[in-house]
């Protein structure tokens, strides 16, 4: 158990953006929101999963919507607590804890807002160990934890509660409601017991985010290589260093899909990498061969500064390093791959587990 203050947030947010694998929303806005909430309400208590009673009633919250929109239409500040209260009302029970559903930029920060505003402890864990674009893509889904009943709330005070036939429907209906709410809304879902949390969440995610963020900062301050530092903490490996030579994007089915082409530099001179993304980075193909693929993590960092680069800021001329990081082993099971493997995202290739650094 420890206390998190606004001073911890910059490292945490940077690391979360790395684990966000290019998606998860803007860490800057997320950090500011959390900072304001912590300044208003005081520090948030962070608990390990094994510090929670099995009977705890945990209500996670998150922001849902288009990252570009959330950078423009900033929150009013009432959305998160609005969604949480709406779900509590429906279930007739107050949350004892809250937790992050994904380790993404914005959604790794929004639980701090929820914890600070609701005055409940935050659990050091998340539902993915990374960021994914759809809200059924959580490890709890594999353990038959239901996303619904769930609630959505917007800045106007509108709220919607949903009971759905499975978590895929939760995604579809919540997405439709979010679009009506102006493409950004807060969502409260996957209410779970302490027992379920221990069984189905990824432990220690927030601490990992903080360690990654700190490693990047300290490497920069100590004039060491921040990419290597981040990779070391994550147990990953640099698969490519290059320059972005083209970015193509289209919007299909509500998601920004696209590809970026990278021309190799240094040891990778003469090679090319193609990065396919749908909000998050999904597949890295080197000279025609898949080298890292979802559900493993593909993290793109600015080669010089180690700053995480989101798929929305991929841009011609940027010098980046691409890291592969092994995902939580539960994603590598047949059920995990069915939920969030290459096939689900429409890729024909077989999933080959990415091997991290040789230990």
């Amino acid at each position: 158990m420890r206390e998190i203050t606004a001073d911890h947030l910059p490292d945490l947010a940077r690391g979360a953006a790395v684990l966000g694998t290019g998606g998860g929303g803007d860490p800057f806005v997320g950090r500011l929101l959390a900072e304001q909430a912590l300044k208003r309400n005081g520090p948030v208590t962070l608990l390990d999963l094994d510090e929670i009673d099995d009977g705890a009633f945990i209500v996670p919250t998150a922001f849902m919507g288009a990252p570009t929109v959330m950078l423009e239409k900033l929150p009013s500040g009432d959305e998160i607590i609005g969604a949480m209260r709406a779900l509590e009302e429906l279930l007739g029970r107050k949350a004892t804890h809250t937790v992050s559903i994904e380790a993404g930029g914005l959604n790794s920060m929004s639980p701090f807002v929820a914890a600070a505003e609701a005055g409940v402890p935050l659990i050091d864990a998340d539902g993915m160990g990374r960021a994914f674009p759809e809200l059924q893509m959580l490890l709890p889904t594999l353990g038959d934890v239901q996303a619904s009943p769930m609630a959505l709330a917007d800045e106007r005070g509108n709220s919607v509660t949903l009971r759905t036939d499975g978590n895929a429907w939760a995604e579809r209906l919540a997405r439709a409601a979010t679009v009506e709410m102006g493409c950004s809304a807060a969502v409260s879902l996957y209410a779970l017991t302490g027992r379920q949390a221990k069984d189905h969440l990824v432990p220690g995610t927030l601490t990992l985010c903080e360690r990654v963020g700190r490693a990047i900062r300290e490497a920069r301050e100590g004039h060491a290589d921040p990419v290597t530092a981040a990779s070391g903490v994550l147990g990953g490996r640099t698969v490519f260093t290059g320059k972005i030579s083209d970015v193509q994007r289209t919007t299909t089915g509500g998601f920004a899909r696209g590809t970026a082409r990278l021309t190799g530099l240094d040891a990778d001179t003469g090679s090319a990498l193609e990065l396919s993304f749908q909000n998050e980075n999904l597949v890295a193909t080197r000279d025609g061969e898949v080298v890292v693929s979802v559900p493993d993590l593909i993290c793109v960092l600015d080669t010089d500064s180690g700053e995480p680069v989101t798929t929305e800021t991929l841009r011609y001329g940027l010098r980046v390093s691409v890291l592969g990081v092994p995902c939580d082993p539960r994603w590598r099971t047949p059920e995990g791959l069915e939920l969030a493997g290459p096939g689900y995202f429409g890729y024909a290739h077989e999933y080959v587990p990415f091997r991290g650094a040789e230990v």
Binding site: T68, E155, G157, D302, Y316
Partner: protein, 520 residues
């Protein structure tokens, strides 16, 4: 084409006379607090050195760090009201939310929220509430605001709220400066709004400086058009600079990099530009500065207008040398523009970086005998400190482990050693001390398209071609010589969830200033 390039830095004002690709003369004068005094001196000296006929000058290009310095110092800023249209959204993070307290105080800290702005699909978040806005305006004016920064959610897509509010201000307070976020920054409300507030806070100063510059040039007998250089290395006319002072913010580093490329004929290199108080390091790719990939923090404020990627450290020719038990350090305190009075080699009493460079045999400036008494171990330690810090910065900026050529420019570049760690070689071109002014003089004319297009995937190439052509046409219309215009940057960002694959496309074209063009 005879051009005058002038760079007004914090310490020195440099002036060069260029004819085509030839540098006819270059001089350096001290910058004065009023900006124009240094220019008058520099022009007088340049005339004496080259005997140029003022009437024959065809263009005057000025780069100035004046506006960014005013912001950094928090001085001479207008009392500025930041008014945002976005309620009921955006309330959690009001205008000025992440600003340093010092700057909020300096601009009067007026932050206001009104209903309005747009959703992603163009529908209003709330209707324009004229009574609410007029009440906010009254409050801002009563609190002392004299300059107004207006922002609105999704204004790059629909600027209606900003323009309507600007009309009301124009009617209520004729002539009051109003800065609109959609004209200044990109998508991303906070970064765009912050840039707009900074711009608004500098409007009064920009007006004074622009008027001063025009008068000074005219009094020197020059009747050629006057341009200011922008962050990206292209030119703007003086009236544009009055309205958009932020566009000059990074012109100093940009000009020195462009000047370094011109002088060294190295289109790809690292440029180390050392002035009186700082060293700025940037990377040139194909002759243009590499741009920062993320929002840029200016004086503690997060902004999203385009800036070159530059890393600065507090080591310059005027940096104090401190020798203490804990070790020898150079900077960040500096004698600044008083170098010529305070440094030992010029008969002063302050031990500066320039003094140790002279004592260490790196340069011959001033009177060497005045530093002959310095302890060799202090000199060596100070120079080693400088070398280590410079090598570190170059190392952090270069894109690979591969050593890069380093071009050393600026008056303080005498500090750069011949043998710099990580540099494949150190190039010190002729006229290195006035690279800034040369960069200003060779600045080009730009044209830009920044719009939301509907991009059907099969027609991407057609749409991009259209945007490219329009950017080229605009550069030509702005005074670029047809045939010299090239596309230097393309950015495509789809606005997720918008119907019809709406994509924001931004294309920038740059060409040579044309002799016979509309503005030249």
């Amino acid at each position: 084409m005879l051009r005058l390039g002038i760079d007004v830095g914090g310490t020195n004002t440099d002036a060069v006379l260029i004819d085509g690709d030839r540098v006819l003369g270059a001089v350096k004068a001290s910058t004065t607090a009023d900006v124009t005094g240094g220019i008058v001196t520099a022009l007088g000296d340049l005339r004496q050195a080259t005997g140029f006929d003022p009437a024959a000058v065809q263009a005057v290009m000025i780069g100035t760090t004046h506006f960014i310095n005013a912001l950094v110092e928090g001085e001479r800023l207008a009392q500025t009201a930041a008014i945002r249209f976005g309620l009921p959204a955006t309330r959690a993070l009001p205008p000025l939310v992440d600003w340093p307290d010092r700057l909020v105080t300096a601009i009067g800290g007026h932050s206001h929220l009104c209903h309005g702005g747009h959703e992603y699909d163009g529908s209003p978040i709330a209707d324009f509430d004229e009574a609410e806005f007029r009440a906010v305006l009254d409050r801002a004016v009563a609190a002392g605001a004299t300059s107004f920064a207006l922002s609105s959610v999704f204004s790059p897509v629909n600027a209606e709220f900003e323009t309507r509010a600007a009309e009301i201000i124009a009617e209520q307070l004729p002539g009051a400066p109003v800065s609109l976020s959609h004209e200044i920054g990109r998508m991303g409300l906070l970064g765009r709004e912050n840039a707009t507030v900074v711009n608004a806070a500098l409007r009064g100063l920009a007006d004074q400086v622009a008027t001063g510059l025009l008068r000074t040039v005219a009094e020197a007998g020059i009747n050629a058009p006057v341009f200011l250089s922008q962050n990206d290395g292209t030119l703007m006319d003086v009236d544009y600079a009055r309205r958009y002072p932020v566009a000059t913010f990074a012109s100093g580093p940009t000009n020195s990099m462009r000047g370094a490329a011109f002088l060294s004929r190295l289109p790809s290199c690292a440029v180390v530009d050392i002035g009186g108080t700082t060293s700025d390091v940037g990377i040139l790719q194909q002759g243009f500065p590499r741009e920062a990939s993320t929002d840029v923090n200016v004086a503690g404020v997060q902004t999203n207008f385009r800036m070159p990627d530059v890393l600065s450290i507090g080591i310059g020719g005027g940096s104090h040398v401190l020798h203490q038990a804990s070790g020898t350090a150079v900077g960040p305190a500096s004698v600044g523009y008083r170098l010529a009075q305070e440094a030992l080699v010029f008969g002063g009493t302050r031990l500066t970086a320039t003094d140790v460079a002279v004592a260490g045999g790196r340069a011959e400036v001033g009177d060497v005998s005045l530093v002959a008494h310095l302890d060799k171990s202090v000199v060596d330690a100070a120079l080693r400190f400088v070398d280590d810090r410079l090598a570190e910065v170059v190392d952090r900026m270069r894109a690979s482990a591969e050593p890069v050529p380093v071009v050393a420019v600026g008056g303080g570049s005498i500090l750069v050693p011949e043998d710099l760690a990580g540099a494949s070689r150190v190039v010190r071109p002729d006229h290195f001390a006035v690279a800034n002014a040369i960069g200003a003089a060779i600045a080009q004319v730009g044209g830009e398209v920044d719009r939301v297009y509907s991009v059907v995937p099969q027609q991407r190439d057609t749409v991009l071609d259209e945007a490219r052509q329009e950017a080229v046409d605009r550069a030509v219309a702005a005074g670029a010589r047809p045939g010299s215009v090239e596309i230097v940057d393309i950015e495509e960002v789809p606005l997720a969830y918008l119907p019809g694959n709406a994509t924001r496309i931004r294309v920038k074209a740059v060409g040579e200033l044309s002799l016979g063009g509309p503005r030249a």
